[in-house]
Symmetry: C2
Subunit: 685 residues, 2 copies
């Protein structure tokens, strides 16, 4: 389950750059406005036309909650992963109707279920605005002023674009700050659930099989976008391939990889290896144990907590794999060699040698970045997040849009409010479990005598304090949130809500740490922009930028691999799923749902179910369509194998594989297992 | 499950002292040679005779693996907890005969199963040797020299006693160094399994119910000690009470509490709160997740890993509770007030004021103690531990016994070898899982560029390195261990075993850190000895010393308590166990074994099963007999409730409770569920 790693504040999210000469055959997360025509021609004898690229781009969909998808019918069908849809499936479920666990199929359009807070984005244009952004930053500004000026310039560009086009407009930082592109998105906010399989089919093998291959997962869910209360009419959608892709065939993946760090200097990689990832892994293991304890209490606790738990386990498994990769001495040795080679060339050239400073600048900020890792006030708990947004928004709205913290600019307000005023149920018991664990870690990290800790605990232990804050808060009421939002600073100041008051007592610290962090990122941005210039000067081309949760095109071939001396074939089938169940004595998590076991005799068991390819993907690519040369849908990405987890830092096509559900498997399941003939008939039409 | 917290090197294990005037009614872990006659007379109108005390002491048994027990028949029956026996039950089990999970009942003496490496200790005498130890430490020695001189003196006393009596002889440090007592033990090493219930009866409710009450656990296992191949004839054993103890009745607990920290200064408590416990909790959560992943792979993995997993979960739950208690600002506020009151009196008295320095000395060593918390080379993995003992032993044996590291003195050699040459099976896959996780943490804590880390990994990632070290080591062969032990330094030096070589590459660091740690402990020992003197001078009495995994007598009354406004009665019954199973829909871990469900109609369901008392216990007390005034067996300690977890630092009899299996419940289970009439008839006879 390649869940998006967005919002991982424990890990640096700076987008960086990559060295092109080391690009391998299947490597690259390419910009749609800068596709690698040479490589494609050379490796695959394929030269995509502008029309082909535009069609794929316009057929692609981004889930703002973190994940990718595509349009697969003219009447608005959107296909994504079950695990991308999980958050929505949980929000639509009740103790009586658990759609996450038991699946869902709308009998007709009138039965499709509206998601409480989904926002889907369709990228419609890309524009280079690098010069405009850089011109706004005068040479003599310090890091904090530079960051402010840059943020203001980006905000103005976004606002102008919004006013002009009405489209969601985001300025994206690429190559660590060497380029800025304006991305315009059409938004869909009326999104309805059409079909989901049971979680035991989607997540067959559970946490144990996650990131493994062979796999047998129907990790698919379908929604439909509506406009004006009717299914939207979609011009660009993917045709459904008759047979899918064959062994060795080239395939393309169009999706939104969230983050890669392939351009990091060795100094920055060492911070990840020795500080950021270990700290984040400690956090994840502590939370996994806490949420698991919560879930064990009863089936209803399990229902409430399982999405959270799966998310944490998924990240834990991913981070563990990444960390083991980074801890392999060979890895940093190779990165160091490459870096030293490049630096030697830079230093040897009088016109370039001033660039060498940039590497030192990145190294110099590492101690300060490490100091910010622990003891922060970024609690990941729903009441707290709501309080934080309301308090900050009231303050920020007193400034002109371009001077605000980035998420509070006018251009992003609609999306922000869509989420902030979501009517989705909040489960207090789960929230208390989350907040109390995080408060406990907060005390540990700052020490029990720290004045801010003393204030935060208010004389209670972490559990008592979390229970009181959540038990007495009114922020679960959407009307109260709206009231506070409309009342602005005065309403916030006079609010007696304990969670509002709690965040207010931490606001100064929050702002100070954020300001510090953004200044350090600005220094890195300027340094990486210099490094990119130096690299292009030495190596002649810029390749592709590190991932930024924006649309990219990857490609590769359908291809098995070797593991522990065994050949792992590129395909699995329905027959394999039943055999896998039998091999584990049908014990949890290896129990296929009753629908599968009952339908076994009707299924064409030789139909392909999952397959692997060498395409270069990472978290955020979940739900990305896999298409063939003809632009037809042949599958949907849902995972990478365990060997692909180091792709964050370095791509390797020897054993690293993207794992997809096969298009034919989806159609076969709809027809032979789910009695969803009508839905199957709409696919690609 | 109150498992012993022995060998928790992450947590300070220094034994300390306690302030007597704050002793509550049920408080105290009293020395058998210094029982609180005044309190017992005043509170319970009971004045134990020397004969009574000696009988209880001689009927008590210590499991050297960590836990308590008692003799309950003249023919050698020993009763302890199932969770104390778990290690042995696992070692006796195979994939075909899983005695841990399915239980065991010997059809007759000839079917009793010999434990591979158990050593049971019966305390037979206590002697004060304080003056002899202190006289050996000259005033002008520094901390390292003092520690060495003290260690030598203790070693000489032990060796003399062993030579003289043939008994295991341990000098115990009490009151943090104010007193030294010589404890002599009769050892039993031929110990055979007689009866164990199923783990689902012993650990009904699993990790979820652990540390909770009401409880319904048959957490009991019986062994028999043998001498010269025959059941040992035991003079001192406990009679079995006809009805057990009634509500409000006084009861006594005779067992080996492992560690308390009630005498710590506030400076030392803050190190626990902000450093030691958080670091240990991070370790536990990381290991819990890793071992859980291991167990999930198959039923056989589960069998191999479950004892390890339960141990980790038990510690994790205990440490979490202790940490939350320490993080409660009220707790340290009260400790601070008490400390300041005492210090004020000390400073106000010209004859005492020099003692005030001692508190400062404890505070001064805290930063150095914190610096030793992480990055150590104390990996808890069987191959590594064997290699460590063999390498150190070869070196140490070249010195006179009294100059060696404490565990290698001649007087302890028999016990050391009993464990080192244990034929118990080692499961390589489980060991790899343990070592690779710990190697990964080692890299994180020291950083990947640390020279020792570079050496330790030998160019591999932590998983590859662990797999290689264990895969290529011969230390699983007992003969090879014996060979190396006999070959001494030369054999070690020429050994090609990778694990031996691995520890040798870390030996210098191991010795340096240990030396540093022992010097710091010596400084603390001297300071706490001063603090104890000051306290006795101000308050007039010394009370009881902090726990040291030696025999103590606790007492209290059978008594319910109030929780969240509800009255919790002191008893549960068999009927309650079945009701608890039904309330959880008989889902794991709330499934009673088939034997119970089948026997339900035969059981007298009103028979008491578990009960609580106010007796003061802690980890290590598991398996302690609970006796009445008449010295009869009325139950066996197996847990403390969640509110008792802060007992490590402060006793509170309002809600803190010890949880026991009731004597009548044990007899009823043997007769009505396990068809063990013959065994039941031996109890107390």
């Amino acid at each position: 389950m390649t869940r998006s790693f967005l919002n991982l504040s424990y890990v640096s999210v700076l987008a960086c750059l990559h060295s092109a000469p080391h690009v391998q055959a299947g490597e690259g997360m390419w910009l749609f406005n800068d596709l690698p025509h040479e490589i494609l021609k050379q490796e695959y004898d394929f030269d995509p036309t502008q029309e082909w690229a535009d069609h794929i781009m316009l057929s692609s969909v981004r889930f703002s909650s973190g994940g990718s998808a595509s349009f697969v019918s003219s009447n608005g069908l959107v296909i994504t992963n079950h695990h991308v849809a999980a958050d929505t499936l949980h929000k639509l479920s009740t103790p009586e109707s658990n759609y996450y666990e038991n699946g869902f199929l709308a009998a007709g359009p009138e039965n499709e279920l509206k998601a409480p807070d989904l926002e889907l984005n369709q990228l419609v244009s890309i524009q280079d605005v690098t010069d405009r952004v850089n011109d706004a930053v005068a040479d003599d500004l310090d890091a904090e002023e530079s960051h402010k000026a840059r943020r203001a310039a980006m905000s103005v560009i976004e606002q102008e674009s919004l006013d002009e086009t009405g489209l969601r407009s985001d300025v994206i930082t690429l190559f660590g700050g060497a380029k800025y592109h304006l991305y315009r998105y059409k938004k869909y906010t009326d999104v309805r659930l059409v079909w989901a399989p049971e979680s035991s089919a989607a997540f067959f093998g559970g946490d144990m099989d996650n990131f493994e291959f062979p796999r047998y997962n129907m990790d698919v869910t379908m929604f439909r976008v509506y406009e004006d209360g009717k299914p939207a009419k979609i011009d660009h959608y993917l045709k459904w391939s008759e047979h899918g892709a064959g062994d060795g065939e080239v395939v393309f993946v169009s999706g939104n990889p969230a983050r890669t760090d392939r351009g990091l200097t060795t100094a920055a990689l060492k911070t990840l290896r020795d500080n950021s990832l270990p700290s984040y892994l400690d956090y994840l293991c502590r939370m996994e144990v806490a949420i698991q304890q919560f879930c064990y209490q009863s089936p209803e606790h399990q229902r409430r907590g399982q999405d959270e738990l799966f998310g944490i386990q998924n990240s834990r498994k991913a981070i563990t794999g990444m960390l083991v990769g980074l801890q392999n001495p060979k890895f940093l040795a190779e990165k160091t060699t490459r870096e030293e080679e490049l630096l030697a060339k830079v230093r040897a050239n009088p016109e370039l040698e001033h660039y060498a400073e940039a590497w030192q600048e990145v190294a110099d900020v590492q101690p300060e970045k490490r100091a910010l890792l622990n003891g922060g006030v970024d609690f990941r708990e729903r009441y707290y997040e709501i309080a934080k947004e309301l308090v900050l928004m009231a303050q920020e709205d007193q400034k002109p849009s371009e001077d605000r913290l980035r998420e509070f600019s006018d251009s992003g307000r609609e999306s922000l409010e869509h989420e902030l005023f979501s009517p989705a149920t909040i489960y207090d018991d789960l929230e208390v479990a989350k907040l109390s664990s995080q408060l406990s870690m907060f005390v540990e990290q700052r020490g029990g005598d720290d004045p801010l800790v003393v204030t935060a605990l208010d004389g209670k232990n972490p559990f008592e304090r979390a229970a009181q804050l959540i038990g007495e808060s009114q922020l679960n009421r959407v009307e109260y949130r709206r009231e506070l939002a409309e009342g602005g600073v005065e309403a916030i100041k006079s609010s007696q809500d304990p969670m509002i008051q709690f965040f207010r007592s931490l606001e100064k610290e929050y702002r100070a740490r954020r300001k510090k962090k953004e200044s350090l990122e600005e220094i890195e941005r300027q340094a990486y922009s210099q490094i990119e210039e130096a690299r292009v000067a030495v190596e002649g081309t810029s390749g592709y930028p590190d991932a930024t949760f924006t649309l990219r095109l990857s490609f590769g071939v359908v291809k098995g691999y070797e593991e522990d001396g065994r050949d792992v074939p590129p395909w699995t089938t329905f027959a394999g799923a039943f055999a896998h169940q039998a091999a584990h004595e049908a014990k949890k998590p290896w129990i296929l749902p009753p629908s599968w076991n009952e339908a076994k005799s009707r299924i064409d068991l030789k139909t392909p179910l999952n397959f692997v390819s060498t395409a270069d993907i990472i978290g955020g690519n979940s739900g990305s369509p896999v298409v063939n040369r003809a632009g037809e849908f042949v599958g949907i990405i849902f995972d990478g194998n365990i060997q692909s987890l180091t792709a964050d830092y370095m791509y390797d096509d020897a054993v690293s594989r993207a794992v997809s559900v096969h298009s034919s498997g989806i159609r076969e399941a709809l027809r032979s297992i789910y009695n969803a003939e009508e839905l199957a008939d709409q696919l690609g039409k």
